[in-house]
Structures are given as structure tokens and as C-alpha cells.
Chain length 81, copies 2
């Protein structure tokens, strides 16, 4: 069956995020003041699997092996129909 | 009052996404076959605003003026407490 996995990958708490700081600075230059700003990357992946649990497991393997760097990233997988 | 805006920015339908194709190819090389793969960028921004509607409007302005390229991107703003 076909499933869609939504994978969100973000830096772990406490990791420096220079890109976010640069964006915050650029927003400030345009007059937008922000308290905090963090970023994440989302992947929407459709895949074939026997059931929802199998789809979840495959998506987590994708994170471990390619999409995320487990040293610096945390990830979250949500599988929908 | 403080609000948190979650801003999701993705390519418009029909735009070529070479990065997504490269990731799909890399996953295939690892033995993960995927039907489709698309990516999005998420920004979590905390900001001060008078009310939720004002926070939403400010976040949308940030998209229009800096975060998104309206020619190629679509964006979605969700404001929470």
C-alpha cells in the first residue's frame, strides 16, 4: 500500500544555527524584530509498504542512513495514508 | 503579546526541484524506492504582536519581503500562542 511520510529534520537543541541568525539579522534590517527564529527541513516522501508501521520504520531508516545527521539533527516521522 | 508563527515554504506545483531528485536518487542507491519526494523549509519565529491576526499579517510580510520568492514559492503561515 502507498503511504506518505512527512519527515521533519531540525538541529538538536543547543546547536548553533548560523543560517537562522543570518535570517534573523536580515529580518531586523527590514524592520521585523523577532524573539527567536529556528529552521527545519521537511521531506514528503511517498513509499510502498505493507502497513503503516513498516512505512514508519522505512522512513526512520532513511533518516538514519541519509537524510539526517544523528550527531546534530533530531527528526520526526509522521506517516499518513 | 508573544506569538509563534510556523512558516512553511515550498516550491510551487510544477517547479523543477533538482535537490529533491538528487535525494531520491541517493535513496534509491541505498535501496529505498520512493514514489515521489518533495521538500519544504520551515521557519519557527516568535514575535510580538497585538493579536493573532496582527502576528499572522507580520509573518506574511516576512514571507513576501524576505523568506519566500513569490515567483517560485508558495508559503503557509500558522500562528499559535
Amino acid at each position: 500500500m502507498k503511504y506518505t511520510a512527512k519527515i521533519t529534520i531540525a538541529l538538536k537543541e543547543g546547536m548553533l544555527d548560523p543560517e537562522a541568525r543570518a535570517i534573523q539579522h536580515a529580518l531586523a534590517n527590514l524592520g521585523f524584530s523577532t524573539g527567536s527564529l529556528s529552521t527545519a527541513r521537511v521531506f514528503y516522501i511517498t513509499l510502498d509498504a505493507e502497513n503503516k508501521e513498516a512505512a514508519q520504520a522505512v522512513a526512520e531508516q532513511m533518516c538514519e542512513r541519509l537524510l539526517a545527521n544523528p550527531v546534530i539533527h533530531r527528526y520526526e516521522v509522521e506517516v499518513g495514508a
